[in-house]
Subunit: 203 residues, 2 copies
Amino acid sequence: MKNRGLLIVIAGPSGAGKGTICRELLRNYGENLELSISVTTRKPRDGELEGVHYFFRDMEEFFRMVEDRELIEYANVHDNYYGTPKKYVMDKLEEGKNVILEIDVQGATKVKEIFNEAVLIFIIPPTFADLKKRIEGRGTETQKDICKRLKNAYAEISHAVNYDYVIVNDDIKDAAAKINCILIAEKCRLPRCNIDFEKFREG
Amino acid sequence: MKNRGLLIVIAGPSGAGKGTICRELLRNYGENLELSISVTTRKPRDGELEGVHYFFRDMEEFFRMVEDRELIEYANVHDNYYGTPKKYVMDKLEEGKNVILEIDVQGATKVKEIFNEAVLIFIIPPTFADLKKRIEGRGTETQKDICKRLKNAYAEISHAVNYDYVIVNDDIKDAAAKINCILIAEKCRLPRCNIDFEKFREG
């Protein structure tokens, strides 16, 4: 039997650098790793592709999926809906792939309710001032959106206490290496390590 | 304030390869790592040095240390006593060093009683047959000692369930790399990561 993959949830406030860290993680430690693809009602940003970055759906189809329990979690973030497709994640885990969910702070705790074995990692920038700079520097949002994101980010920091791990994103490469270590370490944790001690003693 | 070091306990049955793994760990990931030195009443083996491999003490001095509570734990293994000097370990942790204790299976759980934050790692060889081969191949023991070690090893395997992590030692380099990952991951765990979220939000 193939060992089940590990579900790793990466969350944190807007501007913490979650997306960049996930890309770095896939580039350097991607061998057995899949990034889950979210369903969203948000309009695509420049360069975002259907089925690669997101599954873009209209509100009607999104709530059809909610009704039919096809989403592990969904949340409204900055007036757009985002959800995690359950079947996609479960299929990958069954194949033995480790799956990363890069989702918002509220969504992460919902995943834990369904997948108790999920590992929750909270990403924060070194200081709140850094976070402000990153959100403003993104250049894809209006001033109103920026204010909203900052206000949300401030509130979201308090959710960190519900997570298993916290990583301060002061260096992208370092942060990705730490997440890879968390993955390796979690695979050695006793309830997961899949060693049959009785069989071992007979072997 | 300097962050307190992490106490990592490496245990497992005789012949699991604990000693070799610890040496590999110190060679490749030794930057902020110290191997604790045990006190023992055992006679030195060839090449073993006082204050480097062990503090060799006679029975009288050993039990003086026990009486004066200078040992975190002590145990009788194969008719010899081994103990962990409390002051040495605490000083290193306070300096911010990560400390490895390579001790026997019974000792490890006693350490956890005193240092609740200690991380317990259990090392097992791939199969019991491998373990037998390693104990026999050591060539430093009599046949009677070998039988005793094998019998103990068989019983000790059942202690694995009390540990935080289990590592199958099928490759020394790989096992050492996994322990280094456990160390990095544990430093990111929420109760340890030493982030002042209130201060962060003001920063």
